[in-house]
């Protein structure tokens, strides 16, 4: 049986938040570095990517949030059979309050009715929890922080879309994704990463699109057709010339992740979740006693 020691969980999750807020995953940092090599030396695109890389380094060194918008906190837990999630929820909330007080998180949860920010980021809808039951004895805990600038340019399309010439097929899906990238320009802090859900409903579409950011940048869809679409959209997107921060350049997106959910006959949705270059994702595996087994990514 799992013996949950709340203080131990709290410490681990605090550390998960701290690492997520202050450092980029290695694959994302590598993608930025590679992109800089492709841009014209001394040009604005090259400069922007250089500033980003320097910022990542500084954030790591100073143990400071790498972007001031510490985003929506989405936790993804996979727990063993029979696991009681209440203690984990409690420990996570406490860890968030601690991380806010320590300056790793901005007061980022605001009451839309009164306009007042919540002191600790623990509020209705914050954090967002997703629980799944796994077969293993370990707890898989992952966190994604996604900022508002990139959330604002995310989009959902209802097919067919006459204006885009998008029918209910993969060519239609391709058109929607490219349109979303064009509409976003630099507003979502390009270069971006796209999580796409084909199908589902209004709610599950966005949720599933966002969860694609749990994949590593080079992790292709296991579905061959979708994997091909990912590659082709990425190729086209980088020919648009939007570039870093929309100032022009060769790199507009770093990655495209597409997945599909079943749909009802009347609805064909394409949901595009846009993630800024600051893709903050971390994860850890915890053993049955609550001890840290290893870091993921």
């Amino acid at each position: 049986m799992f013996s949950v020691r709340k203080s131990l969980w709290r410490e681990h999750i605090f550390d998960l938040i701290r690492r997520t807020a202050t450092d980029l995953p290695a694959d994302v940092e590598r993608a930025i570095r590679r992109a800089q090599l492709r841009e014209k030396r001394g040009g604005n695109a090259w400069w922007v990517l250089g500033e980003i890389l320097q910022n990542v380094k500084l954030a790591r060194r100073h143990d400071a949030p790498l972007c001031q918008d510490t985003g929506t906190l989405s936790f993804y837990f996979i727990v063993p059979p029979g696991f009681d999630t209440n203690a984990l929820v409690g420990a996570t909330r406490e860890a968030i309050a601690m991380a806010t007080r320590a300056g790793y998180l901005r007061q980022n949860a605001i009451d839309p009715v009164s306009g007042v920010p919540y002191q600790t980021n623990v509020a209705p809808g914050s954090p967002v929890f997703s629980f799944r039951q796994g077969a293993r004895k370990t707890v898989d805990a992952r966190l994604i922080m996604k900022g508002g600038g990139s959330e604002n340019v995310s989009a959902q399309y209802v097919l067919p879309d006459g204006e885009l010439g998008a029918d209910r097929d993969l060519e239609g899906v391709r058109r929607c994704i490219l349109d979303a990238i064009w509409q976003a320009q630099g507003q979502g802090c390009a270069p971006g990463i796209l999580g796409v859900c084909v199908g589902g409903d209004r709610a599950s579409g966005y949720e599933h699109a966002k969860s694609q950011f749990l994949r590593k940048l080079n992790e292709r869809s296991p579905n061959r057709t979708l994997a091909r679409l990912e590659a082709s959209v990425m190729w086209d997107a980088n020919k648009l010339g939007v570039g870093p921060m929309g100032l022009g350049g060769r790199t507009t997106v770093f990655g495209v992740h597409i997945d599909a959910l079943s749909r009802v006959p009347a609805t064909y949705l394409v949901t595009v979740s846009y993630m800024c270059w600051a893709l903050r994702r971390r994860g850890m595996l915890l053993g049955p006693e609550g001890g840290l087994k290893r870091w993921l990514y």
């Binding site: 001394g42 604005n44 400069w47 922007v48 500033e51 980003i52 320097q54 910022n55 500084l58 954030a59 100073h62 400071a64 949030p65 790498l66 972007c67 001031q68 918008d69 510490t70 300056g103 901005r106 007061q107 980022n108 605001i110 306009g115 007042v116 920010p117 900022g147 508002g148 600038g149 604002n152 885009l164 010439g165 058109r175 490219l178 349109d179 064009w182 320009q185 630099g186 507003q187 802090c189 086209d236 020919k239 648009l240 010339g241 939007v242 570039g243 921060m245 929309g246 100032l247 022009g248 800024c276 270059w277 600051a278």
Partner: protein
Amino acid sequence: MSKTLEYPFTAAKVRSLKLGHRVCVSGLIFTGRDKFHRYLFQGGKSPVNLADGAIFHAGPVMARKHGKWVVLSAGPTTSARMDSYMPRLIEQHKIRVIIGKGGMSDATRQACAKHGCVYLEAVGGAAVTVAQCVKDVCGVHLLAEFGEAEAVWALTVKGLRAVVAIDAMGRSLQKRVRQSSKRMLAKMLK
């Protein structure tokens, strides 16, 4: 490679900046975002003198260390959200420099040309780099009313790097990119 721009940001200094060039901003700047812009737009009195000044679209992460405010992280926020307020504020408050991200609308562009103002694109998300440029937090206004992220922070910065994305002639870098990428997109969707 880049030009320095020092406070006070006079019309002459601002007009000498060229589209697409990089600048290093030094001196006094004020943060202000959604709530502050709306407040001014609705006729609220500005707690600071914005004439020949710079407004920085940002919501910083602040902390108090040894009784003093320090900036932990302060990148630009999306300026488009301030678009509906900006032209009037440029005119009424003689703002000369806007620092933000993502570019601004045609109306703001035209106000820049008319009243002599520039829009500087700072790198979105590069919040620690900006925080490093802050040498002093001189004061804070409307903190109780707006909260930490939306308050007006008076900052002394040194060497804050940005690109001139709208110049004082009203030309916009982002607009050009938007148009050229639109043509490219049309070709792809043929």
